[in-house]
Amino acid sequence: MLEFDGLVKSYGDNQVLQGVSFSVAPGQMFGFCGSNGAGKTTTMRIAMGLARADAGQVRWQGRPLDDASRRLIGYMPEERGLYPKMKVAEQLTYFARLHGASSAEATRAVDEWTERLGLSAKRGERVEKLSLGNQQRVQLAAALVSGPEVLILDEPFSGLDPVGVDSLADALLERCRAGVPVVFSSHQLDLVERLCDAVGILARGRIVASGTVAELRAREGGRQLRVVVPAAPAGWAGGVPGVRVVSEQRGDTVLDLAPDADDQVVLAAALRTGPVTHFARREPSLVELFREAVSAA
């Protein structure tokens, strides 16, 4: 279990983290969401020993992370960084060895990961000669090549084309299935929703919502309905008890139901205005959950 426990961090008067706690189980893919400046990067840098928490700690398998255990973590910093003049394979071998791989293990892993990430042809090239997309792949390979027990990736998908996104997603899912806890931050919430078993939403230095996407929906409490009545006049649902109109556009209406509201009453009200072409429970997307959670915080 990878546990972030009560992290507090201030830079001057700016309290960036105010007690961030969450945990990621082995084999779990954890999507770390939050607005810009919410403190995602700071949280990850504290885990990697690049910033020191004022309070709280990060533990792996019950023990606080130290230099030795951090070498078991594959890390991708937000600020991408590689040696521009070093060749791809040499560079990856170096990083694998810094994480404790033997020379032979490192060579084997570099061959494997450059192959998987479509970099086989670039092994002998200097990083500065590669396209940005390929540099990004090398950066990923640098995080993966040491066969890490844990993956902490800061915005790993940003800057990748759809093919790159797919190959990274495959690689992460495969690592995950092998029992590696994966934490990654992203603004691409559709991607998070698709890939992650669990999500944490960070706002103003705190985790304001966490759990599986289903749990977040359930915790949202209310149910939503989408009702399409092409002929209905605007504001038709306003008078129905226990109903709040979320959006309404040319007869396409999204409604928020209070816990005690009866959806059949809503259907009856809709039918009174004309033929109903669509009537269904609506699952809020992660984007909506995110907005909700962030604005409530």
Binding site: R52, P77, E79, G81, L82, Y83, P84, L98, G100
Partner: protein, 388 residues
């Protein structure tokens, strides 16, 4: 992987990337060629013995012997050529076949023909007078005994002639100065490269700043030492093979001294350069933060040139104790035989203390400034910065 394992990996990377760097290979070649060039120059310029050719009209074997002996006394090797008459003599001098020509050396009015006044004048004058004295004595029936050999008793003997050792030390200091600048730059560039490319964040997630710093300085230090030893081997072998120096023990002693001072000087300057470089994020800004330290090196170099002229001067004596200057000045004083053993010991002790201080403060600055990218970090900020 142990703590030292990381340091070793960093050092290994520094060595393998630098050793393949074109600039490094080129600079190594230039320095080796320079050393070989200086030796060849020494050899061609002929050291202390010069030579001259003197033409003689109306000479005989005793004239030849007298000229050669007189030349030997003046430290000049004399070759004697017989010429037919005055016209031939003038021609030979004009054509440069001979440096001077003597007419009628044993006669009443011997004449010397030269292009312009030269050292040959003195050689010929004393030869002519010796011949005349010998002839007059022979007329009087005096038989000459060989003159007794002069024995010199030195009251304050210099153990050897220190001149060549000082030259070697000076040459060593030139190389040392060049290498300190070169490898100091390498360290500084390496630090900024890691900062500007932001790879430092990835590196520091696997090790502490001091491990990165130590690995970098050690790796480049090993490379510098190898280069210096290579230059020394080429230089010493060449000097012995070409017979440029007369006292091999002194030569090797001086070279070893220079190597030892390189190690001390490098540890000092590399730490300062690394700390200074960590304050900036772009190679373009490197010059401004390195200038003060580079100036110190230049001052040390200039003082060492002065010390070679006058190793006993107050300036040389004082600066040979100043940390940062001592690695360049002390080798010259040592080679000149001007430094007592305790002076060397004190100078080394001061330098080691300075290194300890510089490594401590420099390490703090480096650790504090390394993750602050963008712009230039103030020294005070770096010292206050949290170290993760």
């Amino acid at each position: 992987m142990s703590t030292l394992g990381q340091v070793r990996l960093v050092a290994g990377r520094e060595i393998s990337t630098r050793a393949r760097d074109k600039g490094f290979i080129l600079s190594s070649l230039v320095i080796v060629l320079l050393v070989v060039g200086v030796m060849i120059f020494q050899l061609v310029s002929g050291g202390t013995t010069s030579s001259t050719t003197i033409g003689v009209v109306g000479g005989n074997p005793s004239v030849t012997t007298a000229l050669q002996q007189s030349g030997e006394a003046a430290g000049t090797e004399v070759t004697v050529t017989d010429l037919d008459d005055e016209a031939a003599a003038r021609q030979a001098v004009e054509d440069g076949d001979v440096d001077a020509a003597v007419l009628d050396p044993t006669g009443d009015s011997p004449t010397l023909v030269v292009e312009a006044s030269s050292d040959d004048d003195g050689i010929v004058r004393s030869a002519v007078s010796a011949l005349s004295v010998a002839a007059q004595l022979a007329e009087q029936g005096v038989e000459l005994q060989p003159a007794p050999q002069l024995t010199t008793t030195e009251l304050d003997p210099a153990d050897d002639d220190r001149g060549p050792a000082v030259v070697v030390a000076l040459l060593g200091v030139v190389v040392l100065y060049g290498l300190l600048i070169l490898f100091g730059q390498f360290v500084a560039q390496g630090v900024v490269e890691e900062k500007s490319s932001r790879v430092v964040e990835l590196l520091l997630s696997t090790m502490k700043p001091w491990q990165l710093l130590a690995g970098k300085i050690l790796g480049l230090g090993v490379l510098g030492l190898v280069q210096l030893v290579l230059i020394a081997v080429v230089g010493v072998t060449g000097a012995l093979a070409l017979d440029v120096v007369s006292v091999p023990g002194q030569l090797i002693g001086t070279v070893l001294t220079v190597i030892a001072w390189f190690l001390v000087g490098y540890a000092f300057y590399a730490s300062v350069f690394a700390a200074a470089a960590s304050l900036v994020s772009r190679q373009e800004d490197l010059g401004s933060v390195l200038t003060p330290t580079t100036l110190l090196l230049v001052v040390g170099f200039i003082v060492s040139l002065q010390a070679a002229q006058d190793p006993g001067s107050t300036l040389a004596t004082v600066t040979s104790f100043v940390p940062g200057l001592s690695p360049l000045v002390m080798p010259v004083r040592m080679a000149a035989g001007e430094a007592a053993w305790w002076e060397v010991a004190v100078s080394v002790a001061i330098m080691l203390a300075a290194i300890a201080l510089v490594v401590r403060i420099g390490g703090r600055v480096y650790a504090g400034a390394l993750l602050r990218t963008g712009g230039r970090t103030k020294l005070r900020e770096a010292l206050k910065a949290e170290r993760a």
